[in-house]
Symmetry: D2
Amino acid sequence: MSEFETVGLFGKPHDARVISTLRTISRYLQKRQCTVLIDRALAPVLKNAGERVAISTGLARRCDLAVVVGGDGTLLAAARTLAPAGVPILGINRGRLGFMVDVAAADARAALDDVFEGRYVRERRLLLSAEIHRGRKRRGSFLAINDVVIRSQAAVRMLEFETWLDDEFISQHRADGIIISTPTGSTAYALSSGGPVLHPGLEALTLVPICPHALSDRPVVVGCDRSVRVVLGGAQRVRAMCTSDGQRNETLSPGDGVVVTRSEHVLELIHPENYSYFNILRNKLHWGRERFYSHD
Amino acid sequence: MSEFETVGLFGKPHDARVISTLRTISRYLQKRQCTVLIDRALAPVLKNAGERVAISTGLARRCDLAVVVGGDGTLLAAARTLAPAGVPILGINRGRLGFMVDVAAADARAALDDVFEGRYVRERRLLLSAEIHRGRKRRGSFLAINDVVIRSQAAVRMLEFETWLDDEFISQHRADGIIISTPTGSTAYALSSGGPVLHPGLEALTLVPICPHALSDRPVVVGCDRSVRVVLGGAQRVRAMCTSDGQRNETLSPGDGVVVTRSEHVLELIHPENYSYFNILRNKLHWGRERFYSHD
Amino acid sequence: MSEFETVGLFGKPHDARVISTLRTISRYLQKRQCTVLIDRALAPVLKNAGERVAISTGLARRCDLAVVVGGDGTLLAAARTLAPAGVPILGINRGRLGFMVDVAAADARAALDDVFEGRYVRERRLLLSAEIHRGRKRRGSFLAINDVVIRSQAAVRMLEFETWLDDEFISQHRADGIIISTPTGSTAYALSSGGPVLHPGLEALTLVPICPHALSDRPVVVGCDRSVRVVLGGAQRVRAMCTSDGQRNETLSPGDGVVVTRSEHVLELIHPENYSYFNILRNKLHWGRERFYSHD
Amino acid sequence: MSEFETVGLFGKPHDARVISTLRTISRYLQKRQCTVLIDRALAPVLKNAGERVAISTGLARRCDLAVVVGGDGTLLAAARTLAPAGVPILGINRGRLGFMVDVAAADARAALDDVFEGRYVRERRLLLSAEIHRGRKRRGSFLAINDVVIRSQAAVRMLEFETWLDDEFISQHRADGIIISTPTGSTAYALSSGGPVLHPGLEALTLVPICPHALSDRPVVVGCDRSVRVVLGGAQRVRAMCTSDGQRNETLSPGDGVVVTRSEHVLELIHPENYSYFNILRNKLHWGRERFYSHD
């Protein structure tokens, strides 16, 4: 018997290709004698398939493995409940390779054979926890897999804020906002804003200012053993927002602080044995293909 | 008698240093036999000083010259009504040199002597006109001195849009937004987003994507003899905004187009004879001072 | 009879695919009653084909049209002699689209039909002329289609130099070097160094510092009606080089100046009628294809 | 008695201000009963001062502490022999604050009091070791405090090379070269080339391509527990150079590999107790001072 007895399935209910792949996987898992759990939202579209329906947090608690079919965004959303429950995730894409959904749907069966026969790699990625401090009150904490973004929402864009590493003052900034990104998130919004690619094995965060008013306000990479604190200027008239993974939002007021620390949870990803992070990076960033000039 | 008989004064009414400088300038101008016009907002704080009060558009229509005391933002706001009326502007800063308010308050008197005795440089800068197209309807057109910015306002940030140069398709973009900047605006928000510095004498615009999802989506500089059109994707769920100079906003809907052309108006700036654009640039960007390493 | 009676053929003699395409084109031109001229280097490989052999400058003087088969680098090299002689160029690529060699070999015949029947677009691009000033002596002037690059050649990399726009001081720099690029060159080395894309219709140059020691030392775009001067610091111990188009080099000494002006010559390109600059840019830069993240 | 009995002095012999500071420090140390060692090059200019003269490697072996007066470049050069000998370094600048020479000459006496009375911070920074592989032969290994740079030296600039992380292929590159930088070096050449700032406590390296031909070829940060290998293309005709810290050079041939690993040595810096890395960064990068625009 495999170590994965109970498997949860995740995917967008309104995408026919996703559902078709999920149905195939569900049958496969049932043949493997697994208990297959699905979310209520998937129940109507996966019906007659022998799966058990559960609500999301309970589902996460009961799984030994989660299979997510779709894009990186789908995996991010599912990981929010799966990571705190310690459930490892196998990501299967529906056509377009993702950074985390790295198995093609066509290879799903072979990948599952490998996983159930122990031929896989388990990767642990650090996550962030963000807490909002207003005076003595603390709101949060919420989990981020990619990034915590503090950003103005108004048309007059500029935020003034300070950054701190524990009790050490980093700098004062004027910018549209700032991204605090994990290595996983370093290839998402942080990359758009000029941040570096951080290898996922790195125990580090990057602070990437968004459209800073000073050209010297460059991305900084720090270890994740200390907290990063962003404090909004007290005289701000602009509306600011703290967003994690582009999915969960909290409104910020002048003087608010956002404290970002390493989460006690990790994201556990299951990869085929031949997995290579740089292979995916080369594919996603078109490395080696885009070359805008030559001397021939 | 000078060519400048009627002079308008502009500045923020709530800044004591600005008011003090304006008062000195007003007295100077009255000695020069000028008619001095001020906005209603300034009347209570400049009272007993012999100025005539006018409302803004009328004021602009009657001036031969405007003196703006404050920062670049104050000049931008005043220029919105002054430029369409063809009034040249002399900018005086209150301590911090600006790109356009290039005369120090301490040098204001000498600068005015020079201006009234014909020792000055007149510089003409191109402006933009933006019009919003929704189906067959057209809203606008509004004036931009620095830039027209199309940007998502929501927490889920990404906009999908196309750019066109007249009827030639430029590209499809996924980004937080895009900046269409004049040479004047090239040292403002566009510079924060990775745009180049455009010499103010250049008859060109720059298109600078904000946090694009593709690293190859780089700033493009085009001539200002053709229109630039930005068309929002029709399936957008995000709220977008079109902002000119960070001061005037229009909400955009899916499918809306923003058409940016060279304005029929220009911004006319009056400079001391020793004015050098690059001198100001060196000052503002700390050129020649910031050097982060050396081999000594 | 067409306006193009005498046509020169250009291409690398050692590339079999290039030669094969040239042979086909030569036959086509002879059927069109054209006189076909080739360089001595091509004579041995194109023999028996009825072409006349000429040496390069004479060849350029006698052509009404040049057809270049190969990459952008081949076209650059040929354009060095063709542009001063005022010969328009049709560029045909051997598989990989170039910025200037924009006709695929497979479409060569159809493109030639169009050209000889008057269905084509003629595009004129500005070129640069560089002159080296040492004390009162002047060396040069040499022609640049893409760029003039001043760069240290030594292991201790840093150059100190000043930049001037006519007699107006721009700035002092510490960097590996600087690129002065035409719009044509803006998608070559200048883009690698963080420069913007300049539309080829723009009458402008861009100055792009290479690895500057100050983060505020950003690319600047200026009109091409004034000269750009780069003056090396007098106390330089490092070896510097002035290179045009990566093909022609001149050694520089401390105190030397490089004066770059608009050339009296232009590069004339012949394009199919459906030519679109942005279409090529989208292809070369993978616009719309590379997208490193999504929220699905 | 202090833990620092034997102290080595370092500085450029031809700089009068450096010599004057060194003389003061030498007297101070002798009052503290320390044995003061100096290099032969300093002997003629520091004569009659009671110091003992030693040759560099022997000097390093006998010191308990080194005091370097000058710039970061002077400290880098001294650290090449001091780090392998495990000697901690106190850096004193002559006017211009450095990243590592963080004590002002005016504060040297107070700083030395603190150090000799135990009020100091000891910081350990990781160093790199580079080895050149040619076929089965290995040259090197040489030490780098800031960076190992592989770069073309020729006028035709482009290098083709591959990068590997241990046996995992990273990517193929076309660029002027590549920088492999420590956290210490991240504020030097790597920053000029678009790299991020790495906090010195981070156990990581950054790979920063120099003027890459693909816009997606972005800086990558990896842990320092694995080796980074750069392999030059075998068909390279260009001359390449491997340089450590801009001070030591090795010529490279086609097919050569440069293997960079964490050095067994570390750089030990002695700081005053109130030392803050970000304080120095703010000073050096003009953080909070350069602001190119505002909305006032």
